[in-house]
Symmetry: C2
Subunit: 231 residues, 2 copies
């Protein structure tokens, strides 16, 4: 079949595409602070582009809910509330489970093998620095990303990778919360991979949901604790 420029050429992005990505990572990493106002002329100047190009990028960012816009009042970076983070984790639980169940059916043996190697690397990284490293933080997402890929479901991939992961990353950077229990998480990851190896979709689904849920619960607990201190 002949390749058309529409099937993910990905080479030669447009300027607005690149700016979109730059701003996105800027927001996620906190270089552009959450809640801050975005002045179009100022930002356009900063990136050395025209306002029109910038506005195309902002439109996409708005659709991804990384910025909020009000007509005639401009754009602000989102501020993520505790409630929204819980919302996100709930969605992630449902979709992560779905993806993992599908992955048990659709991943190749080679892909599963690679996953196991990835976990070995994680273990080493944990032993070296108690899981505080940047690598460990992003490694968690890498693990989930591969399973997403393995699900072969484009929608679940685009929802999680295209939107939700960015928001979670943003939250992590902002409150600099690394994975709270790296060894426990690693154990759970290993169990998940076992289920994948055995092609047990139901179990894979269940384990992934439980894995994400326990992450959410530990966030909720932390929140309760910090609330007590105030009240």
């Amino acid at each position: 079949m002949a390749s058309s420029p529409f099937d993910n050429d990905s080479s030669s992005l447009t300027l607005s595409d690149r700016i979109f990505e730059q701003i996105q990572t800027g927001i996620v990493k906190g270089d552009i602070p959450a809640g801050s106002k975005i002045s179009e002329p100022e930002m356009a100047k900063a990136y050395g582009i025209s306002r029109g190009t910038l506005r195309e990028a902002l439109s996409r960012l708005e659709e991804r809910q990384l910025v909020v816009r009000a007509p005639n009042h401009g754009a602000r970076v989102v501020t993520l509330s505790y409630e929204e983070l819980v919302d996100i984790y709930q969605v992630r639980e449902a979709l992560g489970g779905l993806a993992c169940g599908l992955a048990a059916r659709n991943m190749t043996d080679a892909e599963i093998d690679d996953l196991k190697k990835l976990l070995d690397e994680h273990e080493q990284s944990i032993n070296e620095d108690q899981g505080l490293s940047y690598y460990q933080q992003e490694g968690e997402l890498d693990f989930h990303y591969r399973i997403l890929q393995g699900s072969r479901n484009k929608k679940v991939l685009s929802i999680l990778d295209g939107g939700l992961y960015q928001l979670m990353r943003m939250y992590r950077y902002q409150f600099s919360t690394s994975t709270p229990r790296p060894l426990q998480a690693l154990k759970e990851h290993r169990r998940i991979v076992e289920a994948l190896e055995e092609r047990d979709a139901e179990l894979a689904d269940l384990l992934m949901r439980r894995h994400i849920r326990s992450a959410r619960l530990s966030i909720e607990e932390r929140q309760r604790n910090s609330q007590e201190q105030k009240g």
Copy 2:
């Protein structure tokens, strides 16, 4: 608390906002055919706007995956394949279940009552015209939309309402497939509402998932049949 223009003012949309919505419904309803190329100058002229404004709308449409763009080659309306439709239903199953379980906890009694009334209307509409009416088709979505609202989870709402429902509507218009088994569907809806009334989150989740899954299975069956005829 003072109201800021950023919390969903919704009054006085921008021109590009309105165009965005117009094009979206145009795509969903098939007035702008799936797979067709979009010429920016032509379309801008048709709507009586400038190309810059149009391009902002297209950027958002692209982010919603209703149009596909390739740098220097322009934009096309998506073409939805059978595989993608299955993907969508799988995601919908997972998220619909999540939303329904949450709704069992978070909907008000009044909201649940309204849901029951809605189902009564549906029953009448089915008796009158065997469920072939436009109303019946959109009514199905209305039911699901209210449960989404009731979940109080903004993310799941924005994912389903903001993106996936549009694609499903599009598919329905394109293949003019009304709900294949309206009476059965109604029965399932009633059971779901019962679970909501009893505040049984686990059951509500389960029933909703099963409800959506059976819709998917009937689509998959139809596909197999049409494949047989060819092969």
